[in-house]
């Protein structure tokens, strides 16, 4: 028994001593403990920022990226009036007299109190603007928001309004709108449930999302499906590496996001990934191209930390 114990202990010691070695040989080379300085965005109109540098710290691994990947071609759908009316009436319960008007972006169905925007490129926006500013609504709790929103998204999907390759993931629920007056103070008007999007497992930039907004007793007052109808298109070369993109990140930060005081000391990068760039709905696009998105934390000299999760840098040279 003693002998068996000795052997077992020896094996354990060997394994334990090998762990640090394995870490340095296998894991560490892929972690890129990278730290370097970048020049902050050059100010316009001759302002001298030549000494304005910030330290960038990579606090995550770079993603493995393919040499090339497909762009997603945007597929336009020209709604007929009958189709649009059916969506308005059946899905959004718009029963009052409706008018239809066309624009170069898509078509509008509704009236002054109920508005539905169906974009040719795929986005859907439904809105019942707040009319009652005097009554404090009974708003759902965040957990209830998710339930209500999940059910509604299923209905939207059943009407074929969610593009096929899209996966929708719940991100959170929170207050969307708050009002205040001198007599009654402030109260919340609506709650929102937000969802991120993925195309075939690949995320999209921040302008692509789905959102269900609820008012009194959970009534849905707004829906935003900020996606695009797409199909796989030509292959495009990923000609920019994640590290090149990171080293170039300074030129993609607007100057007003880097105040001169307190000084920005470090930009900690907590996530780098490839994503498809989706434009806001009124900004037309023919295809979704890959970009790198960065989730970062800005650390200022006064100790303040600010999340910065909207930066992106092109992954292609086109």
């Amino acid at each position: 028994m003693n002998r068996v114990l000795k052997i077992a202990l020896s094996v354990l010691l060997i394994v334990l001593s090998a762990v640090p070695l394995m870490y340095f040989l296998v894991v560490a080379p892929h972690q890129h403990p990278l730290e370097f300085k970048i020049k902050l965005p050059s100010a316009l109109h001759g302002q001298d920022n030549s000494n304005n540098y910030v330290t960038v710290v990579l606090n995550c691994s770079f993603p493995e990226v393919p040499k090339e990947m497909p762009v997603l071609e945007v597929v336009r759908h020209n709604y007929t009036e009958a189709e649009a009316m059916a969506v308005a009436r059946d899905l959004f319960n718009m029963t009052t007299p409706l008018q239809v008007s066309w624009g170069d972006w898509g078509l509008f169905v509704g009236n002054r109190t109920h508005k539905l925007y169906l974009f040719y490129e795929g986005p859907v926006h439904y809105w019942v603007p707040t009319r009652d500013w005097s009554t404090k609504p009974h708003l759902p709790k965040p957990s209830e928001c998710k339930e209500i929103a999940d059910r509604f998204l299923e209905e939207v999907r059943s009407y074929g309004l969610v593009p096929q390759p899209i996966q929708i993931e719940f991100r959170g629920a929170s207050v969307q709108e708050t009002c205040w007056d001198e007599i009654r103070g402030s109260w919340n008007v609506t709650m929102s449930a937000g969802y991120s999007l993925k195309y075939n497992g690949m995320p999209v930039t921040e302008s692509g999302f789905a959102q269900v907004i609820m008012g009194d007793r959970g009534r849905i007052v707004e829906f935003r499906g900020m996606w695009r109808n797409v199909k796989a298109g030509r292959n495009i070369q990923i000609s920019v590496s994640p590290e090149q993109a990171l080293r170039n990140i300074g030129s993609h930060i607007p100057p007003n996001m880097i105040p001169s005081s307190p000084k920005l000391e470090k930009l900690i990068i907590n996530n780098v990934e490839l994503a498809y760039l989706v434009n806001p709905p009124f900004k037309k696009q023919d295809e979704l191209i890959p970009v790198y998105t960065f989730k970062a934390v800005k650390m200022f000299e006064d100790g303040k930390k600010v999340k910065c999760e909207w930066l992106w840098v092109p992954a292609t040279s086109t």
Binding site: G103, F108, W133, Q176, F209, P255, C308
Partner: protein
Amino acid sequence: MFIITVQALALNSQLTVYAAGNDDNNHKEIGVEWVNDYSEPGWDNLQWSDDNAEGFYNVLVNKGFTGKFHYGNRLAWESDFEKASVGGNDDYYVDNVDFVYFSGHGNSSSFLFGRNKDGEYPGGDYHYQVHYTEADWGDKDLEWIFISACEVLEQYPTEWNPAFHSPKTLHGMTGFHTSLADTDDVGELGEVFAKFLTGDYGPAGSIYESWYSATTQVGLTGDGEVWAAIYAVKVWYHPPPPQPEFERYYWNEYLPSYGDGMYSDPPSPQPGLTITIKYDKWKVYPWW
């Protein structure tokens, strides 16, 4: 009591009739000012203020509004927005048109300029900025001021209350409760706002609807949360029962010739009638 009821009914029914004490006959005058170049005061420069404000200006002028001024950078002067008692000239510029749009830097008490054009009068020495104590809008022509700048509407409207001329003849202000990133999406805000106001995207929207729609649909981002805001006059008629109460929110106004048009200026306060400022803010980013 009778007078109030008659007034209330009259105001309620005259939605498209628009007459203010010191307004001129042209109710569709607009002016815009913008600043990208803050090198003189040493603040970070912006890139998209010009597109933002000029987009608003161009859409409305193309639809028949009278463009009275569009000044940028060195030609954008804080004194154009400031009251005469602090050395300003708002009677000739901002308060001499109906709608004004500004884009540039801001903070929770002011919006900021790239050139020091302050009046030398007591109380007017907030350099490179229009501080809330320097504004007195609506005593002449101005109805709405739209401020696309960080944080100017950060506070509930206790600060900017004095900017609404007393009795209140400025109808409202739009702006942002927080900071936002100066991306190309900001450059589209003024144009998209004007298009919502004038019916390029379905029926014309009210000022509240259009600011809400534009700020939530152009793709604004920023560090932390981005919230847009509006505040405007609310008139609350509350005569003794059994006469009906009703409320009028000036942010439900439309631009002249669109929707229901504009309301007449708020009446003077009197028994049975309360005039306050109502504030509303909404989250623009992120969407969860």
